[in-house]
């Protein structure tokens, strides 16, 4: 039984899990798809309805039949060194590798690439959170200045945040309050996300792997906790009822792993902000001691008995 880890080499957070697996003598095969096909070798055969083959990287080779779990952490994109048609060559490599992995039977994904890709979109996230009973801030995604002005006028305290969650290449973009008189005309060029600003007293990161949850809170006021300088994260209990909501969210989203962000308001109410299917957990574990990497290792090793995550093809098993 081999755990396949797909991530970039400098991923120290992945190291935390790989170290746990290795300590427990669970075979690990770690590659970065960005090294395929230049440094990673792949052969996949389909005979009589069965898939056979192997993946090789430097001195290691793993038989496809031995892969039981795949952790999609921070993988790069296949990179070709072909002199002719490199973009096409990379597209071929992408289909060869991911097509092979998707075809492996009975694999435990963290997370399945289809679910992971779908779960990254903010608007469906908010709807799913509402569907399972979480509080969500009123949100507007728009490139219309008039719509933005109406939202600001109606909602009062409003924050601006990225639509995708991705940071710009040359700057840091914290979630920030929008002043009432702000010029909104430039919204027409790039859509933006406006949201009712929660007058928060704390931020919560809730990390989920399978049925295991770890919750930590930081008291940083109304600023963006990611850019507020050093903050102290402390373990907190998951509020009554939220655990069921979180598990329902994960099931509807077909996720095995998720990093939830909540804002806690002055009345102690928790507001769902987002769930990042590839969210960072290293800083939480290091500050709180919560055994997140061990739980992930246990899940990948198949040692935790969790409700199977519905595959994208298994529509009938999705709770509604």
């Amino acid at each position: 039984m081999t755990v396949l880890v797909l991530t970039c080499p400098e991923d120290l957070t992945a190291d935390m899990v790989v170290d746990r697996l290795s300590h427990d003598a669970i075979p690990v095969f770690r590659i970065d798809p960005a090294d395929f096909p230049s440094r990673v070798a792949l052969s996949t055969a389909v005979f009589d309805g069965r898939i056979q083959g192997c993946i090789g990287y430097e001195h290691r080779t793993v038989d496809l039949s031995s892969i039981r779990s795949i952790w999609v952490r921070r993988p790069g994109v296949p990179h070709s060194t072909a002199d002719t048609e490199p973009a096409w060559s990379e597209h071929e490599a992408l289909h060869a590798l991911w097509g092979t992995l998707r075809a492996l039977p009975g694999v435990r994904w963290v997370n399945h690439p289809d679910a992971q890709a779908a779960a990254k979109y903010k608007v469906p996230q908010l709807l799913t959170a509402y569907q399972v009973g979480m509080r969500i801030p009123a949100t507007l995604v728009t490139n219309e200045a008039t719509a933005a002005r109406s939202f600001l006028n109606a909602r009062g305290a409003t924050v601006c945040k990225t639509v995708s969650g991705r940071q710009p290449d040359t700057a840091s973009l914290p979630t920030a309050f929008v002043s009432p008189g702000t010029d909104l005309s430039s919204i027409t060029g790039t859509p933006t996300c406006l949201q009712t600003g929660i007058r928060k007293v704390a931020d919560v990161r809730l990390t989920v792997i399978g049925d295991a949850m770890h919750c930590a809170q930081a008291l940083c006021g109304e600023g963006d906790v990611r850019f507020s300088g050093p903050v102290k994260w402390n373990p907190v209990k998951v509020p009554w009822g939220l655990r069921t909501q979180v598990l329902a969210f994960m099931s509807l989203s077909r996720l095995a792993y998720g990093a939830f962000d909540f804002a806690v308001d002055r009345d102690g109410q928790w507001w769902f902000l987002e769930c990042n299917p590839t969210g960072q957990f290293g800083f939480i574990e290091l500050e709180t001691g919560q055994p997140i990497s061990q739980d992930i290792a246990d899940y990948l090793a198949g040692r935790t008995e969790n409700k199977p995550i519905p595959s994208p093809r298994d529509e009938s098993s999705i709770p509604r």
């Binding site: 080499p9 190291d15 969650g165 940071q167 290449d169 973009l173 990161r205 969210g279």
Partner: protein, 62 residues
């Protein structure tokens, strides 16, 4: 036209240089002395790669 949201952007914070390399034999990152970075819990949190914004620019990893 500058995107509206970038009106709230701030300079990128200086991060500590990562003085470790990937050891493909151990499948872990190691320090110059050959010891795994993960074995140094006290200093592991100092590495930018484990912070809440690690990888945001390339891997949607907050």
């Amino acid at each position: 036209m500058t995107p509206f949201a970038l009106g709230f952007a701030e300079p990128v914070a200086q991060v500590q240089l990562d003085h470790f390399t990937y050891d493909s034999t151990r499948q872990l990152n190691v320090l110059p002395d050959g010891s795994p970075v993960v074995s140094r819990k006290d200093s592991l949190s100092l590495w930018a790669a484990t912070t809440s914004t690690a990888g945001s620019k390339t891997h949607f990893d907050d």
